[in-house]
């Protein structure tokens, strides 16, 4: 049972806001301020940093850099933090949500291109993909999950994404609250709701600081693969409506 509170902003066209960039961050003090500044410089969005119970002053640095900061009371994981941003966006009537990582591997300079793709393509979700960064193991994992779900996505763990209002509504829902990562589970949920996903090639850097939360050690990878397999199993029968890499094209479903 969720506590229902009055919406803080009335849903009138005038009250709707354009775009919110959601940056989930856990102990990313080294990079978060830089990412926030570079995102603000694009001039296309408000910036929200969701501090996933960091202990290194990430929240203060992000706030100083000009972001709105939400600090969750205990660690909710990467997806829990991102979903907090989705719910904030819904509450404040944002039309579009961008997500990017705080560790510096995603370039905020790519965001305008993602927004343009979202507007032009007719897709509900744009996934920023950088295929060259993927290791052999990751490719293999990708192939395995594509086989399992028939979701035709190359880079299913990419956290660089643009969501329209319908996608945000789907992801802010209770249904999405037990997911742990912004990956297969999120993509399957979106395609189950009939939303159109599209991948757009982008430029990314290797991680500057910290380590990937998913591909950190073999044990974690094994756990992750098992976990996601179960998730895929639970969602079996999902058919994806996906358009892959036809960058600024009109929306034709496959």
């Amino acid at each position: 049972m969720d506590i229902k509170l009055g919406e803080s902003v009335p849903d009138t066209p005038a009250a709707r806001r354009a775009t919110l960039a959601v940056i989930p961050a856990r102990n990313e003090a080294a990079t978060v301020a830089d990412i926030v500044r570079r995102t603000l410089v694009t001039g296309q969005c408000d910036v929200l940093v969701v501090d996933d119970a960091s202990s290194d002053g990430t929240a203060a640095l992000a706030q100083e850099a000009g972001a709105t900061v939400i600090t969750v009371p205990f660690s909710l994981g990467a997806w829990g933090a991102t979903q907090t941003g989705m719910r904030y966006a819904q509450r404040n009537r944002y039309l579009t949500v961008l997500t990017l990582d705080a560790d510096g591997q995603h370039h905020p300079e790519e965001l305008p291109q993602m927004l343009t793709s979202l507007r032009r393509s007719g897709a509900n979700v744009i996934i920023g993909t950088y295929s060259r960064r993927m290791s052999a193991a990751r490719r293999l994992a990708g192939r395995y999950f594509r086989l399992l779900t028939r979701l035709n996505v190359q880079d299913f763990t990419s956290g660089l994404r643009a969501y329209d209002r319908r996608a945000v509504r789907a992801l802010a829902s209770r249904e999405a609250s037990l997911l742990d990562y912004q990956d297969m589970g999120v993509l399957m949920l979106l395609s189950k709701k009939g939303l159109i996903l599209r991948e757009v090639p982008t430029i990314m850097s290797p991680r500057r600081a910290g380590a990937s939360r998913v591909f950190a050690s073999w044990l974690l990878v094994a756990r992750y693969m098992l976990h996601t397999t179960v998730l895929c199993f639970a969602q079996l029968g999902v058919r994806a409506r996906i358009i892959v890499r036809a960058q600024p094209a009109t929306g034709n479903t496959t």
Partner: protein
Amino acid sequence: MTSQLTSAAISILLAGAILYLVRRDHMHGSYALWWLAIAAAILLLGVFPPVIDWLGQVSGISYPPILPIIVGIGMILIRMLRTDIDRSRQERQLRRLAQKLAILEQELGAARREVGNAAVGNPGRSRSAQVIPLPKSGDA
């Protein structure tokens, strides 16, 4: 006859403990009902073991003592399944509650700053800064 005494003593002890816990309000709603039913079953089978033999005959099981064991294990499995379902539901609620709390905290902070700024701009009212005007309940 001693075996019947032993089983009766054990079952009375167990049922008594459950009854005590339920009466002390340590268990909530449907849990209390479940455990009361378990206590009643333990009491019945422990005090009157022939019931087990009779049940075995009725159900066609040639070795009746296995019956309460199988049923017991089945009950434990069902109970564990329900516990995990409950835990998943609570986890979902807990996460959503934490998210809502964080969002409201942010809004509260922003509202406080706004009120603070207004008080700085209007020093005559700064003493009443403790009073935060909220919209009437119908306005939201």
